[in-house]
Protein backbone atom coordinates (compact mmCIF):
# COMPACT_ATOMS: atom_id res chain seq x y z
CA UNK A 1 0.00 0.00 0.00
CA UNK A 2 1.38 3.43 -0.83
CA UNK A 3 1.44 5.97 1.99
CA UNK A 4 -1.40 8.11 0.72
CA UNK A 5 -3.83 5.20 0.82
CA UNK A 6 -2.77 4.11 4.31
CA UNK A 7 -4.57 5.68 7.29
CA UNK A 8 -2.74 3.80 10.05
CA UNK A 9 0.49 1.87 9.99
CA UNK A 10 1.99 0.05 12.98
CA UNK A 11 5.32 -1.73 12.67
CA UNK A 12 6.83 -3.84 15.46
CA UNK A 13 5.13 -1.91 18.24
CA UNK A 14 5.88 -2.96 21.79
CA UNK A 15 4.73 -1.63 25.16
CA UNK A 16 5.14 -2.87 28.71
CA UNK A 17 3.90 -1.44 31.98
CA UNK A 18 5.79 -2.38 35.10
CA UNK A 19 7.43 -5.38 33.46
CA UNK A 20 4.16 -6.70 32.03
CA UNK A 21 3.99 -6.86 28.23
CA UNK A 22 0.78 -5.18 27.03
CA UNK A 23 1.50 -4.93 23.32
CA UNK A 24 3.92 -7.41 21.78
CA UNK A 25 5.57 -6.85 18.38
CA UNK A 26 2.34 -5.71 16.80
CA UNK A 27 2.16 -4.71 13.14
CA UNK A 28 -0.87 -3.90 11.00
CA UNK A 29 -2.01 -1.42 8.39
CA UNK A 30 -5.41 0.18 7.89
CA UNK A 31 -6.32 1.46 4.43
CA UNK A 32 -8.24 4.68 3.97
CA UNK A 33 -11.98 4.11 3.84
CA UNK A 34 -11.69 0.80 5.63
CA UNK A 35 -13.30 -0.31 8.89
CA UNK A 36 -10.65 -2.16 10.84
CA UNK A 37 -11.40 -3.98 14.07
CA UNK A 38 -9.19 -4.83 17.01
CA UNK A 39 -10.92 -7.82 18.52
CA UNK A 40 -10.01 -9.43 21.78
CA UNK A 41 -11.00 -10.03 25.39
CA UNK A 42 -10.48 -7.48 28.15
CA UNK A 43 -6.78 -7.07 28.80
CA UNK A 44 -5.76 -7.97 25.24
CA UNK A 45 -4.20 -4.53 24.76
CA UNK A 46 -6.93 -2.98 22.59
CA UNK A 47 -7.33 0.25 24.54
CA UNK A 48 -3.57 0.68 24.85
CA UNK A 49 -3.27 0.47 21.08
CA UNK A 50 -6.11 2.96 20.56
CA UNK A 51 -4.44 5.39 22.97
CA UNK A 52 -1.08 4.90 21.26
CA UNK A 53 -2.60 6.00 17.95
CA UNK A 54 -3.53 9.31 19.60
CA UNK A 55 -0.11 9.87 21.16
CA UNK A 56 -1.51 9.33 24.65
CA UNK A 57 0.77 6.36 25.26
CA UNK A 58 4.29 6.16 23.81
CA UNK A 59 5.48 2.79 22.49
CA UNK A 60 8.70 1.31 23.92
CA UNK A 61 9.69 0.22 20.43
CA UNK A 62 8.34 0.23 16.90
CA UNK A 63 6.91 2.82 14.55
CA UNK A 64 3.42 4.30 14.37
CA UNK A 65 2.13 6.42 11.49
CA UNK A 66 -1.34 7.99 11.61
CA UNK A 67 -2.53 9.86 8.51
CA UNK A 68 1.10 10.10 7.39
CA UNK A 69 2.28 11.68 10.66
CA UNK A 70 4.73 9.94 12.98
CA UNK A 71 3.14 9.35 16.38
CA UNK A 72 3.71 10.36 19.14
CA UNK A 73 6.17 12.99 17.82
CA UNK A 74 3.56 14.70 15.64
CA UNK A 75 0.45 13.26 17.28
CA UNK A 76 -1.12 16.69 17.71
CA UNK A 77 -0.99 17.33 13.97
CA UNK A 78 -2.46 13.89 13.26
CA UNK A 79 -5.23 14.42 15.87
CA UNK A 80 -6.45 17.50 14.02
CA UNK A 81 -7.87 15.05 11.43
CA UNK A 82 -8.94 12.29 13.83
CA UNK A 83 -12.21 11.87 15.74
CA UNK A 84 -12.17 9.92 18.98
CA UNK A 85 -14.87 7.94 20.77
CA UNK A 86 -13.25 6.89 24.06
CA UNK A 87 -14.17 3.77 26.00
CA UNK A 88 -15.74 5.81 28.81
CA UNK A 89 -17.81 8.89 28.04
CA UNK A 90 -15.96 12.04 29.03
CA UNK A 91 -18.61 14.56 28.06
CA UNK A 92 -19.25 17.77 29.96
CA UNK A 93 -22.22 16.62 32.03
CA UNK A 94 -23.22 20.11 33.19
CA UNK A 95 -23.22 21.49 29.65
CA UNK A 96 -25.96 21.15 27.07
CA UNK A 97 -25.40 19.03 23.97
CA UNK A 98 -24.87 22.18 21.93
CA UNK A 99 -22.37 23.58 24.44
CA UNK A 100 -20.44 20.31 24.39
CA UNK A 101 -20.02 20.61 20.64
CA UNK A 102 -19.09 24.30 20.88
CA UNK A 103 -16.44 23.76 23.54
CA UNK A 104 -14.99 20.78 21.70
CA UNK A 105 -14.83 22.59 18.36
CA UNK A 106 -12.73 25.29 20.01
CA UNK A 107 -10.17 22.67 21.02
CA UNK A 108 -9.56 22.25 17.29
CA UNK A 109 -9.17 25.99 16.79
CA UNK A 110 -12.55 26.32 15.07
CA UNK A 111 -14.31 29.69 15.17
CA UNK A 112 -17.74 30.01 16.75
CA UNK A 113 -19.22 30.70 13.32
CA UNK A 114 -17.66 27.58 11.82
CA UNK A 115 -18.86 25.45 14.73
CA UNK A 116 -22.40 26.83 14.54
CA UNK A 117 -22.42 26.03 10.83
CA UNK A 118 -21.75 22.31 11.39
CA UNK A 119 -23.72 21.71 14.61
CA UNK A 120 -27.17 21.26 12.96
CA UNK A 121 -25.92 18.52 10.64
CA UNK A 122 -24.11 16.78 13.53
CA UNK A 123 -27.24 16.87 15.67
CA UNK A 124 -29.22 15.45 12.80
CA UNK A 125 -26.63 12.77 12.16
CA UNK A 126 -26.68 11.73 15.81
CA UNK A 127 -30.51 11.91 15.92
CA UNK A 128 -30.32 14.50 18.67
CA UNK A 129 -32.15 17.40 17.01
CA UNK A 130 -34.64 17.66 19.86
CA UNK A 131 -31.96 17.39 22.55
CA UNK A 132 -29.71 20.26 21.47
CA UNK A 133 -30.41 22.30 24.60
CA UNK A 134 -30.77 19.43 27.06
CA UNK A 135 -28.09 18.97 29.68
CA UNK A 136 -25.99 15.89 28.96
CA UNK A 137 -26.47 14.63 32.53
CA UNK A 138 -30.18 14.23 31.73
CA UNK A 139 -29.63 11.99 28.70
CA UNK A 140 -29.77 8.19 28.51
CA UNK A 141 -26.62 6.11 28.01
CA UNK A 142 -27.36 5.59 24.32
CA UNK A 143 -27.93 9.31 23.75
CA UNK A 144 -24.71 10.19 25.57
CA UNK A 145 -22.88 7.81 23.28
CA UNK A 146 -24.39 9.58 20.28
CA UNK A 147 -23.32 12.96 21.68
CA UNK A 148 -19.80 11.54 21.93
CA UNK A 149 -20.08 10.38 18.32
CA UNK A 150 -21.30 13.81 17.15
CA UNK A 151 -18.49 15.42 19.13
CA UNK A 152 -15.94 13.15 17.45
CA UNK A 153 -17.12 14.43 14.05
CA UNK A 154 -16.90 18.15 14.86
CA UNK A 155 -13.55 18.57 13.07
CA UNK A 156 -14.71 16.59 10.02
CA UNK A 157 -12.08 13.89 10.65
CA UNK A 158 -10.69 11.47 8.05
CA UNK A 159 -10.23 8.80 10.67
CA UNK A 160 -12.33 7.73 13.65
CA UNK A 161 -10.74 5.87 16.54
CA UNK A 162 -13.43 4.18 18.61
CA UNK A 163 -12.65 2.29 21.78
CA UNK A 164 -15.54 -0.10 22.51
CA UNK A 165 -18.15 2.24 21.02
CA UNK A 166 -21.19 0.20 22.08
CA UNK A 167 -20.09 -1.40 25.34
CA UNK A 168 -22.74 -0.93 28.00
CA UNK A 169 -25.54 -0.04 25.56
CA UNK A 170 -28.82 -1.88 25.20
CA UNK A 171 -29.40 -3.71 21.89
CA UNK A 172 -31.58 -0.99 20.43
CA UNK A 173 -29.02 1.77 21.13
CA UNK A 174 -26.26 -0.49 19.86
CA UNK A 175 -28.01 -1.11 16.53
CA UNK A 176 -28.55 2.62 16.10
CA UNK A 177 -24.82 3.28 16.58
CA UNK A 178 -23.93 0.51 14.11
CA UNK A 179 -26.28 1.97 11.55
CA UNK A 180 -24.72 5.43 12.02
CA UNK A 181 -21.21 4.00 11.65
CA UNK A 182 -22.17 2.33 8.37
CA UNK A 183 -23.33 5.74 7.13
CA UNK A 184 -19.92 7.17 8.02
CA UNK A 185 -18.18 4.34 6.18
CA UNK A 186 -20.37 4.98 3.14
CA UNK A 187 -19.15 8.58 3.27
CA UNK A 188 -15.58 7.32 2.97
CA UNK A 189 -14.41 7.73 6.57
CA UNK A 190 -11.85 5.32 7.96
CA UNK A 191 -12.78 3.65 11.25
CA UNK A 192 -10.61 1.80 13.68
CA UNK A 193 -12.68 0.21 16.40
CA UNK A 194 -11.87 -1.99 19.32
CA UNK A 195 -14.49 -4.42 20.50
CA UNK A 196 -15.08 -7.64 22.32
CA UNK A 197 -18.44 -8.11 20.58
CA UNK A 198 -18.10 -10.65 17.82
CA UNK A 199 -21.33 -9.49 16.28
CA UNK A 200 -20.10 -5.92 16.12
CA UNK A 201 -16.87 -7.00 14.45
CA UNK A 202 -18.67 -9.25 11.95
CA UNK A 203 -21.24 -6.63 11.02
CA UNK A 204 -18.97 -3.62 10.67
CA UNK A 205 -15.39 -4.59 10.00
CA UNK A 206 -13.90 -5.05 6.55
CA UNK A 207 -10.87 -6.57 8.20
CA UNK A 208 -9.88 -7.29 11.72
CA UNK A 209 -7.03 -8.30 13.90
CA UNK A 210 -7.63 -10.81 16.68
CA UNK A 211 -5.56 -10.04 19.76
CA UNK A 212 -4.65 -12.03 22.80
CA UNK A 213 -2.21 -10.89 25.47
CA UNK A 214 -1.05 -8.04 23.23
CA UNK A 215 -0.15 -10.37 20.36
CA UNK A 216 -1.83 -10.68 16.99
CA UNK A 217 -3.14 -14.21 16.63
CA UNK A 218 -5.05 -13.72 13.37
CA UNK A 219 -5.78 -11.05 10.82
CA UNK A 220 -8.11 -10.87 7.84
CA UNK A 221 -11.66 -10.46 6.62
CA UNK A 222 -14.19 -11.84 9.12
CA UNK A 223 -15.78 -14.36 6.72
CA UNK A 224 -12.39 -15.58 5.50
CA UNK A 225 -11.15 -16.04 9.06
CA UNK A 226 -14.28 -18.00 9.93
CA UNK A 227 -13.96 -20.10 6.82
CA UNK A 228 -10.25 -20.77 7.29
CA UNK A 229 -10.37 -21.65 10.96
CA UNK A 230 -13.78 -23.29 11.27
CA UNK A 231 -15.34 -23.86 7.85
CA UNK A 232 -18.29 -25.96 9.03
CA UNK A 233 -21.33 -25.83 11.28
CA UNK A 234 -20.98 -25.68 15.02
CA UNK A 235 -22.97 -27.80 17.45
CA UNK A 236 -23.01 -26.60 21.05
CA UNK A 237 -23.81 -29.31 23.56
CA UNK A 238 -24.31 -28.79 27.26
CA UNK A 239 -26.04 -30.40 30.20
CA UNK A 240 -23.99 -33.60 30.32
CA UNK A 241 -20.56 -34.75 31.43
CA UNK A 242 -18.19 -33.08 28.95
CA UNK A 243 -15.56 -35.83 29.08
CA UNK A 244 -18.01 -38.65 28.37
CA UNK A 245 -19.69 -36.67 25.62
CA UNK A 246 -16.36 -35.89 24.03
CA UNK A 247 -15.58 -39.59 23.58
CA UNK A 248 -19.06 -40.22 22.25
CA UNK A 249 -19.07 -37.56 19.56
CA UNK A 250 -15.41 -37.71 18.55
CA UNK A 251 -16.03 -39.78 15.34
CA UNK A 252 -18.42 -37.11 14.04
CA UNK A 253 -16.36 -34.04 14.81
CA UNK A 254 -13.59 -32.34 12.88
CA UNK A 255 -12.56 -30.70 16.13
CA UNK A 256 -13.93 -30.29 19.65
CA UNK A 257 -13.38 -27.47 22.13
CA UNK A 258 -14.52 -27.65 25.75
CA UNK A 259 -15.27 -24.45 27.57
CA UNK A 260 -16.79 -24.76 31.03
CA UNK A 261 -19.60 -27.27 30.74
CA UNK A 262 -20.17 -26.61 27.03
CA UNK A 263 -18.77 -28.65 24.17
CA UNK A 264 -18.21 -26.88 20.87
CA UNK A 265 -18.25 -29.48 18.16
CA UNK A 266 -17.16 -28.44 14.66
CA UNK A 267 -19.14 -30.88 12.57
CA UNK A 268 -19.22 -31.12 8.78
CA UNK A 269 -22.32 -33.35 9.05
CA UNK A 270 -24.26 -32.12 12.07
CA UNK A 271 -27.31 -34.27 11.28
CA UNK A 272 -25.42 -37.45 12.21
CA UNK A 273 -24.50 -35.87 15.51
CA UNK A 274 -28.07 -34.89 16.24
CA UNK A 275 -29.24 -38.44 15.58
CA UNK A 276 -26.56 -39.78 17.90
CA UNK A 277 -27.54 -37.46 20.73
CA UNK A 278 -31.31 -37.77 20.29
CA UNK A 279 -33.09 -39.12 23.32
CA UNK A 280 -30.27 -38.51 25.80
CA UNK A 281 -31.96 -36.96 28.83
CA UNK A 282 -30.92 -33.51 30.02
CA UNK A 283 -28.81 -32.65 27.01
CA UNK A 284 -29.26 -29.35 25.20
CA UNK A 285 -28.08 -29.23 21.64
CA UNK A 286 -27.80 -26.09 19.54
CA UNK A 287 -26.72 -26.09 15.92
CA UNK A 288 -25.63 -22.82 14.33
CA UNK A 289 -23.31 -21.34 11.65
CA UNK A 290 -19.76 -20.60 12.82
CA UNK A 291 -18.78 -17.10 13.98
CA UNK A 292 -15.76 -15.16 15.18
CA UNK A 293 -16.32 -16.39 18.71
CA UNK A 294 -15.49 -19.88 17.44
CA UNK A 295 -12.39 -18.55 15.72
CA UNK A 296 -11.21 -17.05 18.98
CA UNK A 297 -11.99 -20.23 20.89
CA UNK A 298 -10.23 -22.32 18.26
CA UNK A 299 -7.11 -20.10 18.33
CA UNK A 300 -6.81 -19.63 22.07
CA UNK A 301 -8.66 -22.57 23.59
CA UNK A 302 -10.84 -20.23 25.59
CA UNK A 303 -13.91 -18.09 25.22
CA UNK A 304 -13.77 -14.38 24.68
CA UNK A 305 -15.35 -13.21 27.93
Amino acid sequence: MSMSTVAIDLAGVRKSFGGRVIVDELSFSVARGECFGLLGPNGAGKSTIARMLLGMISPDAGKIMVLNEPVPARARVARMRVGVVPQFDNLELEFTVRENLLVFGRYFGMSARKIEAVVPSLLEFARLETKADARVSELSGGMKRRVTLARALINDPHLLVMDEPTTGLDPHARHLIWERLRVLLARGKTILLTTHFMEEAERLCDRLCVLEGGRKIAEGKPDVLIDEHIGCNVVEIYGGDPRQLRELIRPHARHIEVSGETLFCYAPYPEQLRVLLRGRAGLRVLQRPPNLEDVFLRLTGREME
Binding site: L54, I57, A73, R76, V84, N90, E94, Y107, G109, N155
Partner: protein
Protein backbone atom coordinates in the same frame (compact mmCIF):
# COMPACT_ATOMS: atom_id res chain seq x y z
CA UNK B 1 13.58 12.39 24.95
CA UNK B 2 13.79 16.10 24.13
CA UNK B 3 11.44 15.57 21.23
CA UNK B 4 8.81 13.88 23.39
CA UNK B 5 8.87 16.78 25.88
CA UNK B 6 8.54 19.26 23.04
CA UNK B 7 5.40 17.43 21.89
CA UNK B 8 3.60 18.10 25.18
CA UNK B 9 4.53 21.79 25.61
CA UNK B 10 2.04 24.57 24.79
CA UNK B 11 1.51 24.63 21.02
CA UNK B 12 1.45 28.40 20.63
CA UNK B 13 0.54 31.61 22.45
CA UNK B 14 -3.25 31.23 22.12
CA UNK B 15 -4.34 27.55 22.08
CA UNK B 16 -4.83 27.67 25.88
CA UNK B 17 -7.71 30.14 25.43
CA UNK B 18 -10.06 27.28 24.46
CA UNK B 19 -9.43 25.70 27.88
CA UNK B 20 -9.95 29.02 29.65
CA UNK B 21 -13.25 29.50 27.82
CA UNK B 22 -14.42 26.01 28.77
CA UNK B 23 -13.85 26.85 32.43
CA UNK B 24 -15.47 30.26 32.05
CA UNK B 25 -18.60 28.66 30.55
CA UNK B 26 -18.78 26.18 33.45
CA UNK B 27 -18.23 28.99 35.98
CA UNK B 28 -20.96 31.18 34.48
CA UNK B 29 -23.50 28.52 35.42
CA UNK B 30 -22.62 28.79 39.10
CA UNK B 31 -21.17 32.32 39.19
CA UNK B 32 -23.25 33.71 42.05
CA UNK B 33 -22.49 30.88 44.45
CA UNK B 34 -18.84 30.97 43.46
CA UNK B 35 -18.44 34.69 44.12
CA UNK B 36 -20.19 34.50 47.48
CA UNK B 37 -18.07 31.52 48.46
CA UNK B 38 -14.89 33.34 47.48
CA UNK B 39 -15.84 36.39 49.51
CA UNK B 40 -17.10 34.78 52.69
CA UNK B 41 -13.84 33.50 54.13
CA UNK B 42 -11.58 36.55 53.58
CA UNK B 43 -14.31 38.93 54.72
CA UNK B 44 -14.79 36.96 57.92
CA UNK B 45 -11.07 37.23 58.56
CA UNK B 46 -10.98 40.89 57.65
CA UNK B 47 -13.82 41.91 59.94
CA UNK B 48 -13.07 39.46 62.70
CA UNK B 49 -9.39 40.27 62.97
CA UNK B 50 -9.66 43.84 61.73
CA UNK B 51 -12.26 45.13 64.16
CA UNK B 52 -11.43 42.76 66.98
CA UNK B 53 -7.64 42.83 66.98
CA UNK B 54 -7.60 46.31 65.50
CA UNK B 55 -8.96 47.71 68.77
CA UNK B 56 -6.05 46.23 70.72
CA UNK B 57 -3.35 46.78 68.12
CA UNK B 58 -4.11 50.34 67.19
CA UNK B 59 -1.99 51.65 64.31
CA UNK B 60 0.51 49.57 62.34
CA UNK B 61 3.19 51.03 60.08
CA UNK B 62 1.45 54.39 60.20
CA UNK B 63 -2.01 53.19 59.22
CA UNK B 64 -5.07 51.65 60.88
CA UNK B 65 -4.77 47.93 61.49
CA UNK B 66 -7.77 47.11 59.31
CA UNK B 67 -6.27 49.00 56.34
CA UNK B 68 -2.98 47.14 56.93
CA UNK B 69 -4.84 43.84 57.11
CA UNK B 70 -7.02 44.55 54.06
CA UNK B 71 -3.97 44.56 51.79
CA UNK B 72 -2.80 41.29 53.32
CA UNK B 73 -6.24 39.76 52.80
CA UNK B 74 -6.25 40.74 49.13
CA UNK B 75 -2.98 38.85 48.63
CA UNK B 76 -4.18 35.89 50.71
CA UNK B 77 -7.50 35.57 48.90
CA UNK B 78 -5.63 35.66 45.56
CA UNK B 79 -3.45 32.84 46.89
CA UNK B 80 -6.27 30.67 48.24
CA UNK B 81 -8.64 31.07 45.31
CA UNK B 82 -5.97 30.09 42.76
CA UNK B 83 -4.85 27.23 44.98
CA UNK B 84 -8.32 25.85 45.57
CA UNK B 85 -9.40 26.24 41.95
CA UNK B 86 -6.37 24.18 40.93
CA UNK B 87 -6.33 21.63 43.74
CA UNK B 88 -10.01 20.79 43.67
CA UNK B 89 -11.57 21.90 40.38
CA UNK B 90 -8.62 21.30 38.06
CA UNK B 91 -7.77 18.04 39.83
CA UNK B 92 -11.34 16.85 39.24
CA UNK B 93 -11.08 17.80 35.56
CA UNK B 94 -7.79 15.93 35.31
CA UNK B 95 -8.93 12.88 37.28
CA UNK B 96 -12.56 11.94 37.92
CA UNK B 97 -14.28 14.03 35.24
CA UNK B 98 -11.85 13.00 32.48
CA UNK B 99 -12.06 16.48 30.98
CA UNK B 100 -8.34 16.60 30.31
CA UNK B 101 -8.49 13.17 28.68
CA UNK B 102 -11.13 14.47 26.26
CA UNK B 103 -9.04 17.55 25.48
CA UNK B 104 -5.93 15.43 24.92
CA UNK B 105 -7.69 13.78 21.97
CA UNK B 106 -8.02 17.13 20.18
CA UNK B 107 -5.69 19.73 18.69
CA UNK B 108 -4.44 20.77 22.13
CA UNK B 109 -1.44 19.51 24.07
CA UNK B 110 -0.92 18.90 27.77
CA UNK B 111 0.96 22.21 27.96
CA UNK B 112 -2.00 24.05 26.41
CA UNK B 113 -4.29 22.53 29.06
CA UNK B 114 -2.02 23.39 31.99
CA UNK B 115 -1.52 26.94 30.72
CA UNK B 116 -5.28 27.40 30.24
CA UNK B 117 -5.92 26.11 33.77
CA UNK B 118 -3.27 28.47 35.21
CA UNK B 119 -4.70 31.54 33.53
CA UNK B 120 -8.19 30.49 34.57
CA UNK B 121 -7.13 30.08 38.21
CA UNK B 122 -5.41 33.49 38.04
CA UNK B 123 -8.66 34.94 36.69
CA UNK B 124 -10.47 33.64 39.74
CA UNK B 125 -7.76 35.20 41.91
CA UNK B 126 -8.37 38.56 40.25
CA UNK B 127 -12.10 38.20 40.94
CA UNK B 128 -11.56 37.25 44.58
CA UNK B 129 -8.78 39.75 45.28
CA UNK B 130 -10.61 42.57 43.59
CA UNK B 131 -13.78 41.78 45.51
CA UNK B 132 -11.94 42.20 48.84
CA UNK B 133 -10.36 45.36 47.47
CA UNK B 134 -13.77 46.76 46.60
CA UNK B 135 -14.97 46.09 50.14
CA UNK B 136 -11.89 47.93 51.43
CA UNK B 137 -12.65 50.86 49.13
CA UNK B 138 -16.30 50.93 50.17
CA UNK B 139 -15.22 51.12 53.84
CA UNK B 140 -12.79 53.92 53.03
CA UNK B 141 -9.55 51.97 53.64
CA UNK B 142 -8.29 52.25 50.05
CA UNK B 143 -8.98 54.24 46.90
CA UNK B 144 -10.45 52.97 43.63
CA UNK B 145 -7.24 53.73 41.79
CA UNK B 146 -5.16 51.76 44.30
CA UNK B 147 -7.11 48.60 43.47
CA UNK B 148 -6.26 49.13 39.83
CA UNK B 149 -2.56 49.40 40.75
CA UNK B 150 -2.76 46.23 42.80
CA UNK B 151 -4.50 44.22 40.09
CA UNK B 152 -1.42 43.10 38.08
CA UNK B 153 0.13 41.76 41.28
CA UNK B 154 -3.11 40.00 42.20
CA UNK B 155 -3.09 38.30 38.80
CA UNK B 156 0.57 37.36 39.11
CA UNK B 157 -0.07 36.00 42.61
CA UNK B 158 -2.82 33.86 41.11
CA UNK B 159 -0.43 32.47 38.50
CA UNK B 160 2.20 31.71 41.16
CA UNK B 161 -0.12 29.74 43.41
CA UNK B 162 -1.95 28.02 40.57
CA UNK B 163 1.41 26.93 39.22
CA UNK B 164 2.57 25.64 42.60
CA UNK B 165 -0.75 23.84 43.20
CA UNK B 166 -0.37 22.30 39.73
CA UNK B 167 2.79 20.56 40.93
CA UNK B 168 0.89 19.33 44.01
CA UNK B 169 -1.93 17.81 41.95
CA UNK B 170 0.48 16.33 39.42
CA UNK B 171 2.10 14.38 42.26
CA UNK B 172 -0.86 13.70 44.58
CA UNK B 173 -2.56 10.32 44.15
CA UNK B 174 -5.83 11.70 45.59
CA UNK B 175 -7.51 14.64 47.32
CA UNK B 176 -6.34 13.35 50.71
CA UNK B 177 -2.81 14.60 50.13
CA UNK B 178 -3.77 18.23 49.54
CA UNK B 179 -4.23 18.86 53.22
CA UNK B 180 -0.46 18.54 53.76
CA UNK B 181 0.19 21.33 51.30
CA UNK B 182 -2.51 23.48 52.93
CA UNK B 183 -1.38 23.01 56.51
CA UNK B 184 2.38 22.77 56.01
CA UNK B 185 2.91 25.32 53.24
CA UNK B 186 0.02 27.73 52.81
CA UNK B 187 -1.11 28.33 56.39
CA UNK B 188 2.39 29.06 57.76
CA UNK B 189 2.98 31.38 54.83
CA UNK B 190 0.01 33.53 55.87
CA UNK B 191 1.64 34.14 59.26
CA UNK B 192 5.19 34.51 58.00
CA UNK B 193 4.67 36.80 55.03
CA UNK B 194 3.37 39.97 56.62
CA UNK B 195 -0.33 39.35 56.02
CA UNK B 196 -1.56 39.83 59.61
CA UNK B 197 1.51 41.53 61.15
CA UNK B 198 4.64 43.18 59.73
CA UNK B 199 7.55 40.82 58.99
CA UNK B 200 9.74 43.13 61.07
CA UNK B 201 8.12 41.48 64.12
CA UNK B 202 9.78 38.17 63.21
CA UNK B 203 13.22 37.14 64.57
CA UNK B 204 16.04 38.29 62.26
CA UNK B 205 16.94 34.85 60.89
CA UNK B 206 13.30 34.24 59.97
CA UNK B 207 13.17 37.46 58.01
CA UNK B 208 15.80 36.16 55.55
CA UNK B 209 13.84 32.96 55.06
CA UNK B 210 10.62 34.90 54.54
CA UNK B 211 12.31 36.77 51.69
CA UNK B 212 12.21 33.46 49.78
CA UNK B 213 8.45 32.94 50.12
CA UNK B 214 6.24 34.00 47.21
CA UNK B 215 3.40 35.38 49.32
CA UNK B 216 5.83 37.85 50.97
CA UNK B 217 6.66 39.29 47.56
CA UNK B 218 2.96 39.62 46.73
CA UNK B 219 2.24 41.40 50.00
CA UNK B 220 5.24 43.71 49.52
CA UNK B 221 3.78 44.79 46.17
CA UNK B 222 0.06 44.89 47.02
CA UNK B 223 0.21 46.69 50.38
CA UNK B 224 2.12 49.80 49.18
CA UNK B 225 -0.16 49.95 46.13
CA UNK B 226 -3.30 49.89 48.31
CA UNK B 227 -1.90 52.30 50.88
CA UNK B 228 -0.62 54.51 48.02
CA UNK B 229 2.99 54.42 49.10
CA UNK B 230 6.15 53.98 47.06
CA UNK B 231 7.19 50.34 46.46
CA UNK B 232 10.76 49.22 47.14
CA UNK B 233 12.60 46.90 44.74
CA UNK B 234 9.67 46.23 42.39
CA UNK B 235 11.86 44.36 39.92
CA UNK B 236 13.06 41.93 42.58
CA UNK B 237 9.51 41.13 43.74
CA UNK B 238 8.19 40.70 40.20
CA UNK B 239 11.18 38.56 39.22
CA UNK B 240 10.70 36.32 42.28
CA UNK B 241 7.00 35.86 41.47
CA UNK B 242 7.84 35.06 37.84
CA UNK B 243 10.31 32.38 38.91
CA UNK B 244 7.63 30.88 41.19
CA UNK B 245 5.29 30.76 38.18
CA UNK B 246 7.57 29.47 35.46
CA UNK B 247 9.55 26.77 37.27
CA UNK B 248 6.53 24.91 38.73
CA UNK B 249 4.71 25.31 35.41
CA UNK B 250 7.32 23.31 33.50
CA UNK B 251 7.85 20.92 36.40
CA UNK B 252 4.14 20.12 36.54
CA UNK B 253 3.98 19.47 32.78
CA UNK B 254 6.89 17.04 33.09
CA UNK B 255 5.18 15.17 35.95
CA UNK B 256 1.77 15.18 34.24
CA UNK B 257 3.38 13.76 31.13
CA UNK B 258 4.62 10.77 33.11
CA UNK B 259 1.27 10.42 34.83
CA UNK B 260 -1.15 10.92 31.93
CA UNK B 261 0.83 10.13 28.77
CA UNK B 262 2.80 7.05 29.73
Amino acid sequence: MGESYAAVMPTNAYNWIAVWRRNFLAWKKVAMASILGNLADPLTNLFGLGFGLGLIVGRVEGTSYIAFLAAGMVATSAMTSATFETMYAAFARMDAKRTWEAILSTGLTLGDIVLGELVWAATKSVLAGTAIGIVAVALGYASWLSILYAMPTIALTGLVFASMAMVVISLAPSYDYFVFYQTLVLSPMVFLCGVVFPTSQLPGSFQHFVGLLPLAHSVDLIRPAMLERGVDSVALHVAALCVYTVVPFFASIAVFRRRLLR
